[in-house]
Symmetry: D3
Subunit: 280 residues, 6 copies
Amino acid sequence: MLEHQQITDLIRPWLQEDIGRGDVTTRAVVDPELAGRARIEARESFVVAGLSVAAACFEEVGEGSLKWLPEVADGEAVEPHAVLARLDGPVASILTGERVALNLLQRLSAVATLTSRFVEAVAGTGAGILDTRKTTPGLRLLEKYAVRVGGGSNHRFGLDDGILIKDNHLAVAGGVALAVALARNGAPHGLRIEVEVTTLDGVTEALGAGADAILLDNMTPEMVAEAVKTAGGHALLEASGGMNLGNVRAYAETGVDLISVGALTHSAPAVDISLEVETE
Amino acid sequence: MLEHQQITDLIRPWLQEDIGRGDVTTRAVVDPELAGRARIEARESFVVAGLSVAAACFEEVGEGSLKWLPEVADGEAVEPHAVLARLDGPVASILTGERVALNLLQRLSAVATLTSRFVEAVAGTGAGILDTRKTTPGLRLLEKYAVRVGGGSNHRFGLDDGILIKDNHLAVAGGVALAVALARNGAPHGLRIEVEVTTLDGVTEALGAGADAILLDNMTPEMVAEAVKTAGGHALLEASGGMNLGNVRAYAETGVDLISVGALTHSAPAVDISLEVETE
Amino acid sequence: MLEHQQITDLIRPWLQEDIGRGDVTTRAVVDPELAGRARIEARESFVVAGLSVAAACFEEVGEGSLKWLPEVADGEAVEPHAVLARLDGPVASILTGERVALNLLQRLSAVATLTSRFVEAVAGTGAGILDTRKTTPGLRLLEKYAVRVGGGSNHRFGLDDGILIKDNHLAVAGGVALAVALARNGAPHGLRIEVEVTTLDGVTEALGAGADAILLDNMTPEMVAEAVKTAGGHALLEASGGMNLGNVRAYAETGVDLISVGALTHSAPAVDISLEVETE
Amino acid sequence: MLEHQQITDLIRPWLQEDIGRGDVTTRAVVDPELAGRARIEARESFVVAGLSVAAACFEEVGEGSLKWLPEVADGEAVEPHAVLARLDGPVASILTGERVALNLLQRLSAVATLTSRFVEAVAGTGAGILDTRKTTPGLRLLEKYAVRVGGGSNHRFGLDDGILIKDNHLAVAGGVALAVALARNGAPHGLRIEVEVTTLDGVTEALGAGADAILLDNMTPEMVAEAVKTAGGHALLEASGGMNLGNVRAYAETGVDLISVGALTHSAPAVDISLEVETE
Amino acid sequence: MLEHQQITDLIRPWLQEDIGRGDVTTRAVVDPELAGRARIEARESFVVAGLSVAAACFEEVGEGSLKWLPEVADGEAVEPHAVLARLDGPVASILTGERVALNLLQRLSAVATLTSRFVEAVAGTGAGILDTRKTTPGLRLLEKYAVRVGGGSNHRFGLDDGILIKDNHLAVAGGVALAVALARNGAPHGLRIEVEVTTLDGVTEALGAGADAILLDNMTPEMVAEAVKTAGGHALLEASGGMNLGNVRAYAETGVDLISVGALTHSAPAVDISLEVETE
Amino acid sequence: MLEHQQITDLIRPWLQEDIGRGDVTTRAVVDPELAGRARIEARESFVVAGLSVAAACFEEVGEGSLKWLPEVADGEAVEPHAVLARLDGPVASILTGERVALNLLQRLSAVATLTSRFVEAVAGTGAGILDTRKTTPGLRLLEKYAVRVGGGSNHRFGLDDGILIKDNHLAVAGGVALAVALARNGAPHGLRIEVEVTTLDGVTEALGAGADAILLDNMTPEMVAEAVKTAGGHALLEASGGMNLGNVRAYAETGVDLISVGALTHSAPAVDISLEVETE
């Protein structure tokens, strides 16, 4: 779940970005006292995510004067013409808040929808679908929430809530064993230590160094299967690199614990949603 | 061009989002004094946009200690393995800044690349490719810049730098003529007045009302051609709705002035770019 | 109308500027529980503007505990001793909020009052009275609101919601025709293009270049009349420079569309308003 | 003196207010690489104040690329056509920063000029000219600086750096003696205690209560002269209310220590200053 | 009293510091809908301070959904096991807000407790116990409030609400007389002028210069007694330096007005307070 | 190591808190052009921490004009009269920055000093000394840095970079096994799962649930020794509750991995440090 205050803090600068000094069109042509209704409607099939974020946009713009009446919940799959929510109150506020609310709803639903496809693709294998830090700058909290809505789970939220020793670190750190030891000593307790490897020797080395988790980068499913055998449950294994809906099941069937997919957040095309003001 | 200060103000919270209380991995395993080099490299073909934004990320993280050496310029088309830029300085700062810099470069290049395809598709027709307000919350300035890099031009930056009377406004405003008159009286001088219409009658009505520009929403190319004739140069015409690389030329050949495409900013899949630390 | 949230965001730092670490006098000598009433009273004749801004100051300081009871509305002309509003609630909050509230009310009413004099002076001519960007730093939104309250209308709110090519631009831009062409290509659609000229030749040149509006700078009424003839309705004409209550009607009678007056916002002397705590 | 950092912190939101998403005119019509010169010039006689504030505006906008060459110093009296400062560097930055810089320079010079007239009017009497808290919201630090530049001195900067028990406090506080005692006990040491009185009895009461300073509100010069005698140097005396250039000397000659004048900051009409870009 | 808004503004970044991107433990293991009760309990004897600050933490975290039921008031002395307050509402919010609330309550109560010991130690002498600027960065307003709760009074809140000419100033300012004269001319009216001296000659010099208050630094009680005689009530006297519970009464009995104690805020060890969630 | 930018962001509001509208004393009595030197000097024995934080205070206040010349490094033990650093530049800036710089240096050195005593007390046992979240609001990053300077290591920095299921969580979460399972599923990968227990049965339960670490709360050294045996290296063990310099070695000798001590950050009394301006 997202905290209401976190959402509000996030959306304020975004509303400011769109509204600037004020919605000059609406101010000029719509009576500020005019009350009305509007509906937010799906124009294709998708998994909904971000309703409370959209609601918060209208709450902010309307300063509490708009009623938000959701008709579905985050995580539900909807079909074209499904009404996601209705709004009731000053039409001017509905019009002013529309674009930012829809931009967010379209993007977060896109992330949830794409995630849910990956999750379905690996159904029954025991592998989890994981996001990455390849998120939209500023939207990480929301996009990672959308991943969870779509059935995925979350990797690190930032550089401070997990240790991941990557290839570029290893290039300068003097080897897996030393890097893991340094991380164990210097980093805050509470964080797992994960190491990225590209070979099966790397897996053995990481296990020997006591890594809590191993990221298997750009391996074939066969190599991943081998890594699973080697690890024997002594470390969490995460497969990563070049995952798509065509190949993800092959990876999942290797017995790997987690599969991380950058595309969930960096390449999900926006779903189509519209807002219609209703007149008698 | 983007102003340096605007970029810096934008990226600070994004770096904060990723770095949080600090890059615990790099702090633990990389000597803060260690200097080195890295290169940023294309892994597919695309039009580059956002180099100064990526540079600013490393400038911020390195507090000025990193040298940024661009090898291409925004707007250039690159092939796989092309080096976009090199970095020289503290490796720790390179590693800490990498993700946010790449996330932005991948997204902005994606927008420029998709825009350039639409621009090519209408080449020679005289029609301009226009963005919309369907941008990523928080990234509007950057994404609209990427549209220009890709050869497109910009519609409104927000609700305050242009008047666009849309269908939802008209539903409550009492007709095109009244709405245009209200906008002319109440809004700041300096803004054009554009009205959205969906029929040819609407075009005639908007012209009669003295609209400066008319948005032709979801019309067929044939209807747009008719609208062009009707307008006879007395208002700027913009076609919008359902544009894609397959149909955009047909619209462009109608003689319409502008074609706006939401997908430029809401659905361009990230291009693939990597950063490699170089060791001897 | 001003949005409540915009007002609140504006006044917070101003209250902070005055209150600092706290109103030490009131804390020391007034019982925080003591409830009472006060009235805000005109001490000269003027047009009221800014009541909701003053109300917001007391709302902020009183954190909602003060009742604000307006007795007049923005735009009304009042006479000495007229009560503008009454306050009911904790006296301590009334005293702490008084100065900032009055400073704003005195200044905004001054702007509205001066504007209304210019508007009266041109009554019946069809010319509109326009403000400029010569506003008090930080108060632009409020002062431009006060201009509207006084019957005037608004020019640009900033450098981004209108194109105005001024003498200094022309000095380096290579002539009117080129400057207008550059603006048409490079600037966001949605903005009108206005050019400043000082001669009748300039008017002709600007019309030829396709300018949407022309600022006639420091011309005599005779020259303005000539410009009106030359333009023949093909561009909006704005007269500017050295306007005062003595000469403004002569300009208005030329048939010019708009007359801009910097003094509306930079030189209106504060009107006199007091706050009186009422004791039985 | 004003601290450079304080100025920078103040002007940033004001530049943001004017520039918004960017100076679209200058971006479209002026080559960002074009270097040039400009001069800031007086168009009437006045006392200069705020040069470092104007300089800071150009420093911010130009991000350090503009050279600022002052030709006079704050506090100097200048005549029409005097050059206050020259600018050398990117013309685009000069044009973008011009308005905010001039708005501030015109206002602060106005405050200094009006103050200097009051100071001259009381020359030789020993009375000091004092400002009030009737300043422009957001500009207090600058306007109080301009008062000092004009030869005046400063009263409180806010509600927390001085105790001033006014009529409205006394109306609810139970009398002068009690109020002074409460202030002495409850307020931070380090602050003087000043009490506002309107009668000679009030002066006696305030002296008896041990007030450090007494504000003589709306008294005639004769009453003030009497108050000076009564006080006999045991408290600082400040005359206030209805001061103008016509009557201030009469007050000053009573022997009163300080005369406070709200008009210094709330009603000084802007002086006329222009910026001219210089071309060969 | 502390203003509610001031408290809220202070605690927000502190909650942010602790909560970061969210309380992952509570989110994972506690049902967000689960309501419950908790009590905040003393685990040693102390004087309570900061209840409204702790309440504000829970108000913020719970966004208004938690009921705060205080059982004691600031300033009361409590014994081990005393319940300070009860909380009623979502258990998740109680758990998330607990640490920051307790950290503040433990520290502020510590300051009040230590202050109250000094106040008791000087009881009946007429000397007041004063704090210093040796407070915790960011907590000055709260710690100075806690000093008042403990029966002490406040010295300056910052460098701008009182003039204190210290040894380091005198080292470069050319003597007490000159420094006092400069302060009297240049500083805002409303501020007392205090000078630090270390000898009895210094006292005489400060009196001669017209100082309003004199800080007697690191003097023995005998010297302070002598200073009291010398001053004869013509300036406020403050003893400072090396004060502890063992020697403070000796100083207080000299007749000095004020005794300032840095340890009140820089060295009071946290009192022990716990929060217990109550289950049936 | 602390990042320079993080320090700067932290200290700005603290300097603002102290300096407010400006250092009125220094402005009035010290020539702003006067250059000089000062030394920062220990007045008792302690371990130094926070030199770069103090340096940053002077850098901010002096806007780069002060030279900071450290004579020792963080982590060094110093004796009374040791010079920690010298300052060279405008005396006014030295005086204005002094208090905040010293307040921080005194507090951080206190934390490092107390930590080093605990570290020495357990020397040779293999147990690490750990901090807690009982830090000063706003100073967590700095105080945790000081703990590392003193030889300790860091527990969580906030509620988001580690999972710690405490007694209050368990009271509502339905037992250790369920809570650990919920945490494993719902929380971001990358975080260890730690559970607080108060009995040896709790240790067994936590091990069975697969906890990565176990917090042994308020156990005797004998119980801790038993827990160490039970765990047999399958989970990290942390002893906590009531630790002091008298009993900590007994705990350390049990073989426990970590000992956490709240007093490190909540009850270290400030060390004594002074700043002396040097005159010839």
